[in-house]
């Protein structure tokens, strides 16, 4: 086996390896190369974010317009502070509301944005003021059970 032949084959081998890694990063893990200038950051505060995770999608009318970039607990008011990166091509009014929704009954959680009526738009770094928290299934069931118990208790008092 000549050395040049071996070199050629090893070159092909390395190229295949690079192609495979690129494929895995781009097509499989969806690492789309995004410049920082193509998105802008907003933040919102929630009482409870439920199971929301970093990189969860941000959707408006079901269309993905951005991603969650950071989740932290603000120790001043003990609210969850969620940073989101929004695609620069989308602008939202200052009275836009954000809520944490679940895809399906047990699916992944995402942030839904609902456009408001204000004429001024949110600027990078602004806060989305109107928020509603995640529906936590356990709390929901808990509430339902309590009201059910209260209801049946009242029923028994009123024969």
């Amino acid at each position: 086996m000549k050395r040049t032949t071996i070199d050629l084959w090893v070159g092909i081998f390395v190229a295949i390896g690079l192609a495979a890694v690129t494929f895995l990063s781009l097509k499989v893990a969806n690492l789309t190369p995004q410049g920082a200038d193509k998105t802008y950051t907003l933040y919102a505060e929630f009482d409870n974010i439920g199971g929301l995770k970093v990189k969860a999608p941000v959707k408006a009318s079901g269309v993905v317009v951005g991603r969650v970039t950071g989740i932290a607990l603000d120790t001043k008011n003990y609210l969850a502070r969620v940073n989101v990166a929004i695609d620069s091509q989308y602008a939202f009014s200052r009275d836009t509301s954000a809520e944490i929704l679940t895809a399906g009954l047990l699916g992944e959680q995402y942030i839904g944005l609902v456009q408001g009526g204000d004429e001024e738009d949110l600027k990078p770094g602004d806060r989305i003021a109107i928020t509603s928290s995640a529906m936590v299934l356990e709390q929901l069931i808990g509430k339902f059970m309590t009201s059910f118990a209260e209801g049946s208790g009242q029923d028994s008092k009123q024969p």
Binding site: D7, V10, F13, G17, L24, V28, A29, N30
Partner: protein
Amino acid sequence: MLDALLAPFARLGHWVIEAVRRLGFISRFLFAILMNSAQSLTRFHLVIREIYFAGVLSLIIIVVSGLFVGMVLGLQGYTTLVRFGSADALGALVALSLLRELGPVLAALLFASRSGSAMTAEIGLMKATEQLDAMNVMAVNPIARVVAPRFWAGVLSMPVLAALFNVMGILGGYYVGVILIGLDGGSYWSQMQANVDLHVDVVNGMIKSLFFGAAVTLIAVFEGFDATPTAAGVSAATTRTVVTSALVILALDFVLTAFMF
């Protein structure tokens, strides 16, 4: 009577002592390889040559096995997922199983039986035919000239082979799920993209295969270097390479998984 009762303990003791002794040898051997690796870098064509034998010649088996494993995953995954009405998640299932576990582990097992055994046999035969002695007498350190290039070639080839195995598996799953069964191609990819994380899944899988590559090649070159220089000795060493590699890959996989995920 007492002897018969004590015999299992004696065997256990013998086994443990032997295992510790070999572990000590192999650690010293790894140290010697690392100390003698300078030449592998300055004369990189030595490593390139070994990458050809360890990596390039393993391409076919990796491509074919990856494709079939992916197709089986597609088929099995579909029949299971469709019961829960979530056949769309097939892409995520195939990609995650491959990236996290099957890709690195199966590629390493194939690599051990294809290239690891060949390395052991080659070095063992070089020992048996006095080629290693000849090198020593020519003032050439066989660890620097023969062992270290093979070791680095194995370490470098393994992640490439694992990545290729993953890609072929994902394409195999696509073929079965989308082309044969008729799922939506778009949701195959989008489900995959939504659930695969570059760092957690892809990079960790690559790190795993790097560890496997190092472990398998270290075992292979050690067994070759340590082989009894006879035909029977070399064949026993080759068998040991495959068996030990398989066990070490699986044990290491457990440890790495526990740390990573």
